[in-house]
Symmetry: D2
Amino acid sequence: MIKVAILGATGYTGEELIRLLSTHPETEIKMLVSHSTAGTPIDEIYGNFRNVCNLVCEELDIDKVASTCDVAFTALPHGASKEVIPALYKKGIKVIDLSGDFRYNDVKVYEQWYKDQHCAPELLKEKAYGLCELHREEIKKTNLIGNPGCYTTCSILGLAPLVASGKIDNKSIIIDAKSGVTGAGRGLGIDYHYSECDQNMKAYKIATHRHTSEIEQELSLLAKEDITLSFTPHLVPFKRGIYATCYANLKDKASYDELIKIYNEFYKDEHFIRVLQNGKIPQVKDVAGSNFVEIGLAVDERLNRVVVVSTIDNLVKGASGQAIQNMNLMFGLDEKTGLEAPGYYL
Amino acid sequence: MIKVAILGATGYTGEELIRLLSTHPETEIKMLVSHSTAGTPIDEIYGNFRNVCNLVCEELDIDKVASTCDVAFTALPHGASKEVIPALYKKGIKVIDLSGDFRYNDVKVYEQWYKDQHCAPELLKEKAYGLCELHREEIKKTNLIGNPGCYTTCSILGLAPLVASGKIDNKSIIIDAKSGVTGAGRGLGIDYHYSECDQNMKAYKIATHRHTSEIEQELSLLAKEDITLSFTPHLVPFKRGIYATCYANLKDKASYDELIKIYNEFYKDEHFIRVLQNGKIPQVKDVAGSNFVEIGLAVDERLNRVVVVSTIDNLVKGASGQAIQNMNLMFGLDEKTGLEAPGYYL
Amino acid sequence: MIKVAILGATGYTGEELIRLLSTHPETEIKMLVSHSTAGTPIDEIYGNFRNVCNLVCEELDIDKVASTCDVAFTALPHGASKEVIPALYKKGIKVIDLSGDFRYNDVKVYEQWYKDQHCAPELLKEKAYGLCELHREEIKKTNLIGNPGCYTTCSILGLAPLVASGKIDNKSIIIDAKSGVTGAGRGLGIDYHYSECDQNMKAYKIATHRHTSEIEQELSLLAKEDITLSFTPHLVPFKRGIYATCYANLKDKASYDELIKIYNEFYKDEHFIRVLQNGKIPQVKDVAGSNFVEIGLAVDERLNRVVVVSTIDNLVKGASGQAIQNMNLMFGLDEKTGLEAPGYYL
Amino acid sequence: MIKVAILGATGYTGEELIRLLSTHPETEIKMLVSHSTAGTPIDEIYGNFRNVCNLVCEELDIDKVASTCDVAFTALPHGASKEVIPALYKKGIKVIDLSGDFRYNDVKVYEQWYKDQHCAPELLKEKAYGLCELHREEIKKTNLIGNPGCYTTCSILGLAPLVASGKIDNKSIIIDAKSGVTGAGRGLGIDYHYSECDQNMKAYKIATHRHTSEIEQELSLLAKEDITLSFTPHLVPFKRGIYATCYANLKDKASYDELIKIYNEFYKDEHFIRVLQNGKIPQVKDVAGSNFVEIGLAVDERLNRVVVVSTIDNLVKGASGQAIQNMNLMFGLDEKTGLEAPGYYL
């Protein structure tokens, strides 16, 4: 059994790690670390864990984590991860970081978009970017994962085959993305107050959201050239889900059949990626609660433009599920282990 | 592996049976029966099953069901079940019926509340009422289960310890119950239209809802006297969940501690029943998506009245999860098999 | 034109006062008082007021309020109102208080349920309890209104005809009440976080909610005897609305027709109260956004029990709309002025 | 008083016409026409109208409409309007049509996008396109209004100043639009079933939605050249609101300040259009329930692209409110009459 520690156990990605690992056949959660709730059993914080997991949250003790556990998931706020991970990493245990701190290849990009100095830039070379479908072999070999963001996972997987194909004008990419409210986490804020948030929607951080840079990094790798793109996030009144509607101009005319074939081929061995056929368009409820991604596309022939639509559960494939998929790869397990449950639908 | 057929596979309880069985380690779904969608793969109807289950729905063929499967779940409308089940039952396979047709001990009660003549009253003696926590031994021995209703499961389990204790005035019982919208099923109706249903709530069928009679049957057994009670269902704008607020007058003064001890004792060996301590009151999100039940209580000392609050997921413990729990018992498996996932919370 | 000040303008009842008064033909809002946002235009806080009202919030200055305005609505937290109102009242302007501070006839009841000492008990004799349908004449004569609570308005109006009729056992009253989330106000709290609150419901403060005492005061007056009753509030995931399901044992047998006639008679001159006929049961969306109350009832003949269902918009008839109805009465206007808009329905 | 008939009174736009007209000081509703509910009082269909409007729905009688009323709002399905309107129009009364039948200048565009032959193409020359802010003078002079669609109103008003300014590449326009569920009307459908629709979102009719052609017609007029653009509608789980996120490439570099000044100037006399300043981004709740439009914008300097965000209530400014605004203009009233109420916010 793989022994697991979760740092930042009481945020939503922490909750999802516990939820998913509670039915994972090859893991045992040994430690839940949470400064703010140290001393409290997790099932008093999240009642869904009563009779399932009653571990008591504890303060961070890096020696204890390293001596007790094989892997640590760090579900800490951006900035906090990079203070803790170098010490953990040096102890030799595997670390999967769900923050933005270890996702970048170029520390300057991180520092520019996160407006924060990085204290362990040397680790950025050791890490693998944990988007399993694109970096599987690197993930298997590393001890440090920068687990991708939710918007980024959805956007990159939606656009990857198209960008790799060279069929689009890379300067024309626009991603109009919508997120459920759990993406904002458990912290209180007037924007997430039920009475302010339900029956409402709005765009935010237009042209300035951090995930823009992460999407650009990965699509640039696929394109083998620098890509700059427009990214607009929206807050939408449902709990789970990212929905990305992506636009790009086609270099030459291309039919739906031609493009869908590119997607089918690109993802033909990917269990978690479901490319919809026959013009079918994805919807959030088909993936919510699961590690699956759904992708569909349409061609706007009048404008020679392609529209790709992609959806994931932000907390699962966009965070904790993908983190476990990474763990499975790092420990030589079948990538699907513990992640085969279908979405909730209802 | 237990070979399973689901009749009425495309309703919501059918969908939940597939969802839950897809991670059950001891079953294999062999047949999905649905007249209206015969010929269509289930994952075209419920997209969450893509890459999980792609069985094609088929017309009912009783011989085929009986020769292919060990157990049939009948998730058919009330009235339709009783037309099909006698033939299935005679073939010797186990049948778990999710309709109201085989829940009653007295056919007259059924006929009065369902305003329908029963065509197989002799089977009512063969059946077990599938409320596992109260009828476990009978369930293990029968081949026919009348799987309880959603409101009834929640209400009976909430009140059982109190009624069995003899501490309340049985004439004073009032159940004010609230249901999520999935309880109304997948059929269209103006009341379940999003624009009519969201931001709204209402009571319906006050004093006339069928589940009243089912609750009375079971509580009367526990009380060893006939109980008549008030039951008011409400439609509330969330998807999953039953929430029952139950009132009864105490015969003599009794403290919270005294009453909670009765509950703790009554349910001390029950994995799926979580009695909340220290005055904690249940909430829907702690059980939604799971087979768990949460129960809490309060004593209104000024009035010498007890208020018991109970909550379940209507589609899981209130239908498909409980049906699987019954199946586990009938096949000698650990009752918890395939049902250990915690609730969704988010 | 009646010159109006709103103290506590930036809470939800403040917002609703501004929303409703903005189309009231006989009023002019002169001052918006809010300590926390002094200096900010109201339409920066509530964007719906852009091009409608751009008054700048200001600090409280009692002399200025009294010299500028004819009436002050105090939409302050419980406890804060009673610190401010004596001074305002002495200046001779009319005061309509939306807190719990001036609703009680007996200061001891206030102090017991609010666990706070009252600093102006002498004003309790001057005030009228602002439930217009029951205290219209007193309201016309006073300069100080204790505007009723939301749960209380809904519960009292639902039960008043029955209690006044003497047909029920006053010891058997149970009120199972459900509130939309705006009832909790604009303050942040984990229970009102969208991700925690949507798709959830729960009871709270069973047998201990303050509104219990307010309902008892008014029903006791109608019954001409002391009434003690059970009151259970629930938080339900919609924005606006109170839904009260009330139970009582009938002293003697009584038919639906007999009881509905009592309601029709009791409310025959009341514009804002709509008694539903022919067994129709109220629903929240018919009153949300409006000052109307809907009441329906059912008789449970098997148990000789009556079930009364009542619904209002908590922010309108349960707070700001009723406050304006009181103002209309105090200034000799038609009670309906500015309050005739129908509910939103959608 | 203007005497009003509403044809198609029981759909959602019919309901909103009644709701808004019930507080309009210059109108009197004389006839509600609805084939399917003829004989039923409107307040039995929409309970919010009890004590507000109890007109009985009746069958269509064109002579009666023309002899009784000054104006008819036709809130009929697309295709049905054009069968009725020629007869009404000939009788000389004013007609405001909320369907798509009389919105086009070129009958061929209608027939291509609606896949239906037009039976009264000659009336297209008589009609005014009822987007008040752009066609005010024509509206004042005509007896026939083609009232704009919801997506189109939001999109056109969002982009109009920019297109008129000549600052963008007209071939680069992309509109990513999101609609609340009331936009789909009251008809039943699995996509609008609460349990299928809540907690879900999806795009639909990508590159093929009819409103595309209507937006193109109006923007082409402003650009004085033919515009073809991408339009993607999405169904989002709230009741009221359209939210359009519009993208276009700037021909030359332009700052936020420069562009916002263009908007401020373009809409400087428009009461219902609120251009947000200082980078503020609109949100649905600020306009829901009202006739207001909110527009904000951002410049993506890295890509020299502008993002315009626009929001309206689909049932008010996107349908019935705008229809009343048109009526006001046609009858020489102040355009704002009866439409001054602020949005609901809550």
